[in-house]
């Protein structure tokens, strides 16, 4: 389902990135970086909550808005009961909606925020998300210190929190359109190869977005997927070309690949993942490059593996989803 918007603009973004992301090539685009995974807190979960608080307060500082002037916060994260967002967003806005779309959450939040602004229900909306490498590892996989060997196709959950303020007042960058994805099941069940699990969702959403708006991939200066990693990225390129004759070789990249220096940072394996992976790249690198007008039209396709450890043990497949949002320089 594709929507276009008339009066939704990006006012500003705020990014807090973790220690591994700090070593990556996009370091200079982040507002704040952490020295370690604890962020002076006692637990990883509390560190994630603190990052959400920090990114929201940075956004308030940058835009000069106080808590009462922000109409709504929309957001979510990977922890059970979307803990980081709910605990982090307390007392930050007039109202709040918690969302879950795994790693696609940020675009889900931006789409809902844009719809609310476009329909004149609210004046502004913050979309926020976060993830934490070891907090996610503890929840979804083995204990954090266990360190069981993983194949090269596994992805590395990014640490950080990122927020964006959408508004009805005109700025340089507008939210042009968005496509809401559908839940995809292509019989994939390898949790150590999430790129392969999520690539069909990305393929489906990109293709439908282009078809609905009657565009070719060349329309965009950059198309990014959320967190497919280096293997998933190649699958998307090959499938799009082979099956739909859509050539993505010139202007397509994946946020998981862009977030880290995969040659040097061997621990990151196939690339970054987690809700904040696409958010850090989009609100850090892409936003700043759009401000400088180096990029004019960008399609962000956040991919999410709707992964439940319980259902994997009960021999079910991993479902996936991808949501796309298009930003344009006015």
């Amino acid at each position: 389902m594709t929507f276009t918007y008339n009066n939704v603009y990006v006012q500003d973004t705020a990014t807090v990135a973790g220690p591994y992301e700090k070593q990556g090539p996009l370091k200079k685009y982040y507002d704040k970086t952490l020295k370690d995974l604890y962020y002076n807190e006692k637990s990883f979960e509390k560190a994630e909550i603190k990052m959400v608080k920090e990114s929201l307060s940075l956004l308030r500082k940058k835009t000069g808005l106080n808590r009462k002037e922000i109409d709504i916060i929309l957001g979510g994260d990977l922890l059970n009961q979307i803990t980081a967002t709910t605990y982090g967003a307390i007392n930050s806005s007039k109202c709040f909606l918690g969302l879950y779309g795994a790693c696609s959450t940020i675009v889900e939040a931006m789409i809902l925020g844009s719809v609310l602004i476009d329909s004149k229900k609210v004046r502004n909306a913050i979309a926020t998300t976060s993830s934490h490498n070891t907090a996610a590892e503890k929840q979804f996989r083995n204990p954090t210190e266990y360190g069981a060997p993983k194949p090269d196709t596994a992805t590395f959950t990014a640490t950080g929190s990122a927020s964006i303020l959408l508004t009805n007042e005109q700025t340089d960058i507008k939210v042009e359109s968005s496509t809401i994805g559908q839940i995809i099941d292509l019989g994939q069940n390898d949790s150590n190869n999430m790129g392969q699990v999520m690539a069909p969702a990305a393929i489906d959403t990109i293709k439908r977005h282009l078809k609905d708006l009657n565009r070719s991939p060349d329309y965009y200066d950059l198309i990014v997927t959320g967190d497919l990693g280096k293997y998933g990225k190649e699958i998307v390129k090959e499938y799009m070309l082979k099956e739909y004759n859509l050539d993505l070789s010139k202007n397509y990249n994946d946020c998981g690949v862009m977030l880290y220096d995969l040659e040097k940072q061997k621990e990151c394996l196939a690339g970054g993942s987690g809700p904040v992976c696409s958010a850090l790249v989009s609100f850090g690198y892409i936003y700043h490059e759009m401000k400088k007008k180096n990029l004019k039209k960008v399609l962000i396709v956040a991919t999410g593996a709707l992964f439940s450890p319980t259902m994997i043990y009960q021999k079910e497949n991993i479902y996936s989803i991808a949501n796309a949002i298009s930003l344009e320089v006015v």
Binding site: K42, S43, E45, K138, N142, P143, T144, E145, Y146, G147, A148, P149, P151, D152, T153, Q182, I184, D185, L186, G187, N193, Q196, A199, P200, I203, D204, K207, R208, Y231, G232, E234, I235, E238, Y239, K242, E243, E267, A270, N317
Partner: protein
């Protein structure tokens, strides 16, 4: 049982099928150096065994202990060293390098318990450490006991001594 036909995008009639998709995705798989990993695990695991045997010999010769007492003390030492290195944060890095050679011997068992305990220490001694310390090791203990019982029974039925 319901049958799931694995086709994505049926609403739009695009027929992205599992077969078609896997044909493309099979071109982009990571190569896992299984033989190399097995060899590294064989050597590193063997080295742990050698280390254990060395400790036993040392205890037998220097402290004039029996072999079985030395064996028990050796296990305590190895478990202590493994748990300590988990707590100091470098066991997981060694595992990434030395593969399952460190996870299969008693070092891996100690590591699985210490790492789980560390993970849940913030949730307190009862709901945290107590409830989660056997998160990974529980399976080893349960099936260890069952298989010990099973093999003891076989041995007993074959007329051996337990």
């Amino acid at each position: 049982m319901y049958e799931i036909k694995i086709i994505a995008n049926t609403i739009n009639g695009d027929n992205m099928t599992k077969e078609k998709y896997e044909k493309v995705s099979s071109h982009h798989k990571a190569k896992i150096p299984k033989l190399k990993n097995a060899l590294i695990a064989f050597i590193s695991g063997g080295f742990i065994g050698l280390l254990g045997e060395g400790i036993i010999e040392l205890l037998c010769l220097n402290f004039h202990l029996s072999r079985s007492t030395s064996g028990t003390i050796m296990i305590v030492i190895i478990i202590f060293v493994a748990s300590l290195s988990t707590a100091l944060g470098f066991f997981d890095k060694l595992v990434t390098k030395l593969k399952c050679g460190l996870l299969i011997p008693i070092t891996g068992f100690a590591h699985s318990m210490t790492s789980a305990a560390l993970d849940y220490k913030n949730e307190g001694p009862i709901y945290g450490i107590g409830a989660n310390i056997f998160k990974l090791a529980g399976s080893v203990i349960l099936y260890g006991i069952i298989s010990a019982w099973l093999f003891a029974m076989i041995r007993y039925l074959l007329g051996g001594v337990i």
